[in-house]
């Protein structure tokens, strides 16, 4: 068994990063956190997280970038906004979590083969291209990119959905795909 240092040294932190985060939409109030833990207490998922929301807030404002970005916590957040509406300091914790997810994707620090970021990326690709999501195909792609065994937990549910007419194999697509943000982004660059 490998013994590692569990405590962090201040010099490993990048406080400038925390300051950059507070300039992003929804993250302005990060530094007013009083570490009361209301967010962790109200979060339905905190008991499954590697860092509770309160600890994530502290990691971010102290500048421990990699620990925050590589955490499972930010992906387990289901964006129910419980913490956001209950925070006594009006910190938009859910929006900070979103910002961290995007940073983790950009810097490729998200946990690999973890189904939640896999789902987000596949969903993003599908909707960017077609303008709509096709649940059945999305689930298949998510499983292939993370853990194909997940599909075993879904066979029964899939069959039930099929029987009740709630699942199709059709690939949904809007008519005017050219109006989607990805196409527009190309046009915006040309200009």
């Amino acid at each position: 068994m490998e013994i590692k240092r569990q405590m962090k040294h201040q010099k490993e932190a990048t406080p400038e990063w925390a300051h950059q985060i507070t300039k992003l939409p929804g993250c302005e109030k990060l530094f007013s956190c009083i570490q009361c833990g209301t967010c962790s207490g109200t979060c339905p998922l905190s008991i499954y997280m590697d860092y509770t929301p309160r600890r994530i807030m502290n990691l971010v404002r102290e500048g421990f970038r990699e620990d925050a970005l590589a955490s499972q916590t930010i992906w387990l957040c289901a964006s129910c906004y419980s913490c956001t509406v209950r925070c006594p300091q009006q910190i938009q914790i859910t929006d900070i979590m979103y910002t961290l997810k995007r940073e983790a994707i950009k810097s490729r620090l998200f946990p690999k083969r973890f189904p939640i970021p896999a789902l987000a990326r596949e969903f993003y690709g599908m909707v960017s291209k077609n303008g709509r999501s096709s649940e059945m195909w999305l689930v298949m792609r998510m499983a292939m990119k993370s853990n194909p065994m997940i599909l075993l937990t879904m066979i029964g549910t899939g069959w039930n959905l099929f029987k009740t007419g709630r699942m199709t194999l059709r690939r949904e697509k809007i008519r005017r795909v050219s109006e989607l943000p990805h196409e527009n982004a190309k046009a915006m660059e040309v200009r």
Binding site: P44, P115, V127, I150, T153, N184
Partner: protein, 300 residues
């Protein structure tokens, strides 16, 4: 005066949440209100799109608002909690952050679309409560409810962080609407606790656990039905009851129905048109009251 709303179904209401669309259209028909589906609408982006690219997420959602504005109508009805929240958030962010506005505006302009900032996003719960009103619902009731007490489950994104649908922690409008239709409700302290959304598909055990807690508490309070207003909540509570039965050792078989199905039933809607057959759980208890209520009693 003909009442009319523009309507944005979103992906779920065309797939796993079909009963929501069916019952919504039926209910509004019974109330003589017209719903017009937004032409060529796109996915709202939900939580996943936002996790990858914020600017494009708002531009994506803004296309729906733009299409709505082009119709000349002022209001857009979004029944899915995720769609509702994303539309609201898009307008909020575009209004608050000039940089976001600039991006969204440029993106729409490249597609020859206007900014949809005159559109007001509405949720059917709040439309039924505010525009149509309890009295009008009450006056239209033709069926006596025999399905037992109902736990009203609001979930998260319809009530948070924007407070137009109802209060964020202890909302009551669904109860008021159902009671007006003669459907008794029970106290339900977990009414705004999140169902975990897509977690049942990703971290399966955790997702199922959250829903087991929600169902157990509803049953403990004497509910025979759970009413929802979100396609994902309905799916999670409905589709995994087999596993939840095993996990909790409880004999649960509870119908999980959209509040629009319950109101539509009280107002005399047809069972098929209200999509009751699309439920996976609770078919046995449902059969009892669906057939029992044939002898329609004037209930005013």
């Amino acid at each position: 005066m003909s009442e009319e709303y523009l309507y944005f179904p979103g992906c779920s209401l065309k797939a796993t949440g079909r009963a929501y669309e069916e019952s919504l259209l039926t209910l509004f028909r019974l109330l003589d209100i017209k719903l017009d589906e937004l032409e060529d609408w796109n996915c709202c982006g939900a939580t996943s799109y936002m996790s990858i690219d914020e600017e494009k997420a708002f531009a994506l959602s803004a296309r729906n608002l733009a299409l709505a504005q082009k119709t000349g109508k002022k209001e857009l009805l979004a029944p899915c909690a995720a769609c509702y929240l994303v539309l609201k958030k898009t307008q909020d962010y575009v209004e608050r952050y000039p940089s976001m506005r600039e991006y969204v505006e440029a993106s729409l302009k490249a597609a020859n679309l206007p900014m949809g900032d005159k559109i007001r996003t509405r949720h059917p719960l709040e439309v039924l409560y505010n525009d149509i009103g309890l009295d009008r619902i009450r006056s239209k009731v033709v069926r006596k409810w025999t399905g037992g007490p109902v736990a009203c489950y609001y979930g998260c994104q319809a009530v948070r962080p924007y407070y137009e649908v109802d209060k964020p922690v202890d909302p009551t409008r669904m109860e008021e609407l159902l009671e007006a239709a003669g459907i008794p409700t029970v106290k339900y302290s977990l009414k705004t606790k999140c169902c975990g959304g897509s977690l049942t598909g990703t971290i399966h055990k955790v997702g199922v656990r959250l829903n087991a807690i929600l169902l157990k508490e509803a049953a403990r309070n004497g509910a025979k039905v759970v009413a929802t207003l979100c396609p994902l909540c309905q799916f999670n509570l409905d589709a995994y009851q087999g596993e939840i039965r095993k996990q909790t050792q409880q004999n649960l078989d509870m119908p999980i129905l959209y509040f629009t199905q319950l109101l539509g039933w009280a107002l005399g809607g047809d069972a098929r048109a209200l999509g009751f057959r699309r439920s996976i759980s609770g078919q046995a208890p449902m059969k009892q009251w669906l057939s029992a209520s044939k002898e329609v009693a004037a209930h005013v």
